[in-house]
Each structure stands twice: as C-alpha cells, then as structure tokens.
Symmetry: C2
Subunit: 497 residues, 2 copies
C-alpha cells in the first residue's frame, strides 16, 4: 500500500515578492501611541506597569532572531506589564477601541520574531503575571499565569511526584505563555506531544476585552469547537492568554539517557528511526547533534563530551518505573544502535551525568548566538523517514554555496534545527541566506515536510507560508482571524495576517 | 494553593425556551431537493450512488439516539454515497451553489443526533469510501478514508506490530470519520487522549467544494492555525473530511485487565482516582460499571460475570513490554484496590478472559437499547475528583424522581455515561427526562464539569450549550462557522448554529 501525501504544489519556492521588512496587515491604519494614550494606559494599569522610555522599548522589541536579520527595527511604542487578567481586559478594550496594535510577549526566547511588534503599538509583557496558582494533586493539573518560567512548572510538579511533559530546550528561561502561543515542542514530543497536548484549558481575553475560559479541568470535552487548542500555536493573533491549566502525569520513577556516537550524521539519523520501527520502543527523546554542534558546544561550555570526536551523537531518553526493565530496554536500544553503526553507547543514569549531557544539547542554540552574529535558525519538519534525504540535500546545498551549518534537533519526530551560519566578513550574506532558505524549503516541501515544527511562523517566516499552505487555507486563516479579532489589533503582521 | 475554576455561571439550568424540535439555523431558507436536483446528483455521482426512495431516506435519518426522543422526524430528502474525494467536492460545490444542506454520516452509531439531517437536504454517507490507503511502517502512520470501521484500523496496525490508540466502545461498528468528527473518546483516553490526539492530518472538502489538506505526515507542525484539530469534534459543521492520517505507536507486548468488584459505586469511584494519584501508575483504562450495568449486561449476554453480585466493577487495563513488570504493576494496583475497599481482584491476562470482560463493558449501551425504548444516554464529564459527588447527586435525583438509571463509563477521565431509563408504561416520560437532565447538567456545571465528554452536542444537546459556554464563545463559534461555511450548508442545526 502506498499513498504519497504532499500538501502543497511541488514547484520550487521561487524568488518572489515580499521583502524582509514586514507589512502592516493589508494596509490597516493603526493609531499611534500618543502621550495621551500613555497617560490613559497609566491610569488603567498603574504608572509602574507602563514604560515609554526608549531603552525599555528597545529591550522589548526583539526576541532571539538575530537583530541583523531585520532590514529595519520594529520598535514598541510603549511597553506594559499588567499584573492581573482584569488589567489585560481593560488594556485590550482600550486598544481595540483606539485601534492600537497589541503584541503579547513572554520571555523573548522565541525564534520567529513572534514577539516583535511588527506594527509598533503596545508590547504586552507577561513578566508580572508569573504565579503558579494551583497544583491539583487530585485531578493532576497545574494552573499557572503566562509569565511562569517553564522549568518552574516542571519543578512544582516534580515536588508532588508528578510530571509536566513540556520540555523545550529554552525551558530554563522561556515563559509557559510563549510555549502555548507557539505550541513549543522540545525534547519529549515523540512520547508526550508538543505543549498543546498538555493544555486542558485557557483563560483568554478576546480582542474586545471580554474574558472567557476555553476548556476546563477535564480530560476530555466536546462541548463546542475546540478553541483552546486553536489558540495553542496561534502566536497571539486570536486572543491573549491569561491563565493556563496543564495536564500532569505520574512522574516516571527512573530516567536513563544514552549518548550514542556515530561515525557520521547519516548513520545516526538512519538509526534514529529504527528505535521505534524496528525496536518497537517508544523513548521520551531521540535527539541529534551533528559534529559541528558537538564541537561548537564543547567550545562554548569549555568542556569535553564523551565521544566528542564522533561524526554525530544521538541522545536517547528512556523512562520507566523499574530499574531492571529500564536496563533491559537500554540494552536493547544499545544493541540496535550498534547494529546500525554506533561507535559506542554511553549510559547516563545519574543526575550528574544526565545533566551534563542535556546541558550540551540545550546549549547549542546559545552557542550559535555566542559565536555568530549572522545566522538563520531554521526549524523544518519532515516525515521521520525523510530526515536522511533532507540532510543529504542540505549537505549538497551548503557545499555548493560554501555555507557553514550546524544541524541538530528532534530527529525522533523529524524536526531538524538547521542553522545557516555566516562569518563576520561574508559578503552579501542576506542574499545567500535567502537563497539557501528557499532551497531548503523547496526540498522540505518535496519530502512532504513543512516550514516550522515548533519555532513558529511569526514575522520571520510569514512570507513563505503561501508556499506551504494553499489559497483556500490562507483565505480561511484570514477569515478566522477576523472572526476573533475584527479590527486586527492582536499581534498584527504575523502568520498570514 | 487553590483555584476553583468554573467556566460558566453557577445558576441552575432553568426550564427556559427551546423545544425538542430543532430549528433551522437562524431562519436560513434552504432549497428543497426537487426531482431535478436528484437528477443532477445522479449525473455528478452516478445513479448507483444516489438513493431517493423513502426506505433509504428513513434508514439514513437516525443514529442511536432513540427515535422516541424526537418530537418529529428529521427526514433526509436524498441520500448519496460518494466513492471519491472528487465526488464529494462536486457534491459540495453543487449543494453550496443551490443552498441545500449536507449532513455527513458515518456508521450511524452516534449518540447525539449528529448525523440526523436536522434541516433535511442531502445525507452524505461515507460507507463507500472505506479503504485503508496505506500503513506506513517507517513513519508509523495509517491513512484511511472516513468509511473505514474503527476496529479494522486497529487490526491493520496490529498486523504490523503497531497500535492505533483510539478505542471507542462502538469500534466494531463505528466509522473512523465519525470518530474524528465527534472526537470520540473511548477506553484509552487517560493514557492516549481522545481520537484527535491520534490525528496528524485531514484531507477536507470545504463548503464551496475546494479540496485541501490540513496537517501532514508530521509529528509536529506550527505552520498556520491548527485547523486539522479544529475540524476534530466539529461534527461536520465546518468541512467534510475525506481522508485521515492517524498516528500509530509501537504495540505494547503485553496487556492485562483487572476486573475489580467493589461493595458499592462510591467505593469504586473513590478508588479509581487513587490509581494515578496515590499509585502513580498510568493505566490505559479505568472503567466503571455500576450494579445495574452489570446485571443488565449479564441478562443481555445471557452470561455470568465474575463478581456479578458486587455493587460495582472497575475494569483496569495495564500495558507493558515485560511480563514481570506488568505482574509487579498489577500486584500494586491490586493492593491499592483492596486498601480502598475492593472485594476481590480478578486478573484477565489471556485473550479469552480479556475479551469476555470487555465484551461485557462494551455491550452495556446495546443492552440499554435492547431492554428500553425510552431513555436518554447522557455523557457528562467532570474533574475526576468530582465523580463521587456527581454520582451522589445523581442517586439523590433518581430517588427523588423515582427514576431508573444505569451508570457506567470512563471514570478514569471523569466522563460518566448516565442512562436515564423509563419503563414502557411511564407517564410524562419526556417531561420527567427533561427535568432530570436539567438537574444533572446543573450539578455537573457546579462541579466544574461540562455537557459532553465524547458523544457530542449534535442535535440532542444543542439547546443546553448556552448554559455551559458564555455569550462571547457562542458568538465566536457562530463567526468561525461562517468563516468556514458562509452559506450554512454543512450539517446545519447542530452545535450552536
């Protein structure tokens, strides 16, 4: 049996219109933030929760997309720090009335420009709505405000013997609100799904300021359209999330990580897909670091990794409640890896060795930023069986164009973080990057993949969406956006609108 | 820490307006199916795929909501049986142009009137789009047409050593298309989530006949709004699904079911929540049968169940890859059950004993239909910790009103199937049923629960939605419905529109 499903035309992604600079949504004319507006915001939120100085405005106008990426800055006109849902409600009612854009912002760890105020206006920072409101050990839920740091949720759950399954690499800094808005993936998607799979309910403020709850503290719910999960990944364009109820699970008693060096990336990615298909084992994680990721991270952390000379590493996480079963399982995975070309299998079964291993994996993105100022972090996702072909095409294109790349990511779910890197002295780097991205996207599409697996579209990838989604879908997205936000004040310039 | 989240006003559900008879969507005036329309449909789909005789029209105008439930029949004007996506596309383009309602229909096993043609028009049966198109053992997916019987998907997956996690009780008869449209739950939601959690991609025909794919053969995807999962559970009101890509998982090597009799329902439901919270074990299923469910099923199947005299049964399913670990786990669960009042713990660890046990559980709904013609099958869901309180209130209301009830269901996820039963000679049964439902819904709401966990709103529960969702949400639903289906031809009269 065979069906090849490709959801977009397979023609290459041409060098069409659409500059780097964002465009306001179809010529929307937003009102400026005048001193009178700032005064009104101070009256609504308290003056301590409103900042109009240039330094703050600049600090809250970027995320982790390199500043050099943008042709021109996108500057917040004012930054607000509400402390309550009521303040968010008052803010939106006011902004909607006045037709001023509102860009919600988490910790600024995003990689798509999702929190960049593309059309100016108000940046709404959630850093003062940062309370864990409840850990419910009877219903296995945790209720939080959007400004809670992701890792703090995991810790609060673990203190009760429970697991919050979301595990983005930026989790020590990112806010859960941003994770929900972008549907962050992370290291445990194979087993637990992305952030949205843990979302049970959202309190949201609609564009007109009305406050409502989507979903509830319930494991299932078919009462009405599933708007809670439509908001997940909608990048703040449909509503502003003010409370989040997340599902928790019993915490696995034991966790083991394997660090498995391979002679080259190809053998590593080929092996990765065999763990589930041949081994019939469902790990929590299967992560890839290519050789350059390994060496860049060693340099950044000033450390040596086991098997650091290898062509590539897989990191495989297994969980269980029995030491013996887990040992049996990692033996089986180890055998399978060796069969598929692994050089060695290192077992990290205590907190120290596990932390060291994951610190390396989680530092790659930071290491790239530390050593390069000119880069594009890509986030393509393909069917897992197509990862080897994707990486082969990537190797070809880099060689042809004389490009450096660091490639790592969630190989277990087909989501590869391809980093295109440019030295300080590289001429015409933006043109080269643009051409390389288009070629990468074309291959991705031909393999049945898509533009972004977890980083989001935001401002950075918006102009490529029309190559992956057809006209009918884009028209639908615009109509649904209008259904939620008729005046277009919520994070304008993102996704397709 | 404590936050009580209630998403709707806590006032009781009053005896407000809204009769049993459905209303066309806000006075929409649909065109009738004239002989000329039937001829045109025959030209589009082939005459063998169009049925206009009264017998067929009647046969395709009901689901498993008791016929006696409706004040008046809702009769299809014509029934069509397309064989391809292209035919569905041609059909919708035609119906949209002519403004004729289209009600998609699976196997008719629904429990909310979702497939009942509330406004007449065309019933679109999927029984001739019933092919399994691909089992992809590399990407762990299965691609099917909507008319495939759910159990056949599980079997096709199992032949490759893979698991399709959807497991509705009606799975031997239901079509996967209906499961997706209703976001069917079933017996494994605690561990695997409802149907939607297995959906990776949908081919859909929009109201105007355009064909598109939402999602892909990808484990994650944030490229655009998540319309694939918005369609899940939307009851055919937004688009018509024509292909479905489902996620598969490695098949657990071993499965054990425990049948655990308790002296009464209260002790059974109290114990149910302890398996995860106290035992820290994540079972695949935790199901409840109350005493009346047990005896009704024994009578229906003409058999005796182990512990059939007990006040209630829990059925607990555990999965694993190791016989020893699984034995260890069921010993622990058994100890916990005994601690919480279990009378005995029966272990079903072979195919025969497991089949017998599940046959009983899965036959309750049918047994109710066999012995009663007047009933209402309710599907309320509450936070798991509130199940004991819900059932206590149910007991009170039944005693007060002299009502029979059979209560069973997915106690592990808080979703209880409360069946209100009426003898043949019961006077004013509809009024009594109506009052009892309202009281049940009021209690459900007060406990933080909602109207339907998995059966859907459809025609049956539509008039109660406004008691569970606020005005802002209902207005949003109507606007989103219009964004997808501007002329309101898709399954009108369901949900809120």
């Amino acid at each position: 049996m065979h069906v090849l499903h490709r959801d977009a035309p397979s023609a290459g992604i041409g060098n069409d219109s659409g500059g780097q600079a964002p465009q306001a949504w179809e010529g929307m004319n937003y009102a400026p933030v005048t001193p009178e507006v700032t005064t009104a915001l101070e009256a609504l939120l308290g003056s301590r929760n409103v900042a109009a100085d240039l330094e703050k405005r600049e600090a809250y106008s970027y995320d982790e997309v390199a500043k050099q990426f943008w042709e021109e800055p996108h500057l917040a006109e004012v930054v607000v720090f509400p402390e309550t849902t009521e303040q968010v409600s008052a803010l939106l009612a006011f902004a909607n009335e006045r037709h001023i854009p509102v860009t919600p912002r988490g910790a600024g760890t995003g990689l798509s420009g999702g929190a960049v105020p593309a059309c100016g206006g108000i940046v709404l920072s959630f850093e003062r709505m940062n309370r864990i409101l409840e850990v419910d050990t009877e219903n296995l839920t945790i209720t939080v405000e959007p400004g809670v740091v992701t890792a703090d949720i995991s810790k609060a759950a673990a203190r009760e013997g429970l697991l919050y399954a979301g595990d983005p690499c930026s989790g020590d800094a990112s806010f859960i609100g941003g994770n929900v808005a972008e549907n962050a993936g992370g290291n445990k998607v194979i087993k637990y799904g992305p952030t949205g799979a843990s979302v049970l309910a959202l309190e949201a403020v609609l564009a007109d300021g009305s406050v409502t709850w989507f979903g509830g503290k319930r494991r299932k719910d078919v009462t009405g359209y599933d708007f809670a999960h439509l908001l997940v990944g909608s990048e703040g364009t449909l509503a502003v999330i003010t409370k989040i109820v997340l599902k928790l699970l019993p915490l696995p008693a034991r966790v083991v990580d394997l660090l498995v060096p391979f002679p080259d990336t190809e053998s590593a990615v080929t092996c990765a897909s065999k763990i589930m298909t041949e081994g019939k084992i469902l790990p929590a994680s299967v992560e890839l670091m290519d050789h350059r990721s390994i060496s860049l991270t060693e340099r950044f952390l000033n450390t040596r990794l086991p098997g650091g000379d290898a062509g590539a590493h897989l990191i495989i996480q297994l969980e269980g409640n029995s030491a013996e079963l887990l040992a049996d399982e990692y033996e089986r995975v180890g055998d399978l890896c060796r069969k598929w070309g692994a050089l060695e299998v290192f077992v990290a079964d205590n907190r120290n060795s596990r932390d060291k291993l994951w610190k390396a994996r989680k530092s790659i993105a930071e290491a790239v930023i530390a050593f390069y100022s000119k880069y594009s972090k890509e986030d393509v996702v393909v069917p897992t069986s197509a990862v080897p072909e994707l990486l082969k095409a990537l190797g070809d294109l880099c060689e042809r164009r004389g490009l450096e790349t660091v490639t790592f990511g969630h190989v277990g779910d087909g989501n590869m973080h391809v980093n295109l890197l440019f030295g300080e002295d590289r001429q015409n780097w933006k043109e080269t990057m643009e051409e390389a991205r288009r070629e990468l996207y074309t291959v991705t599409q031909q393999l049945g993949g898509t533009l972004s697996g977890e980083h989001g579209i935001g401002l950075k990838r918006k102009k490529y969406v029309s190559h992956f989604l057809d006209e009918a879908q884009i028209a639908l997205m615009k109509r649904v956006k209008l259904a939620f936000d008729p005046k277009g004040i919520l994070n304008p310039g993102k996704l397709v609108v």
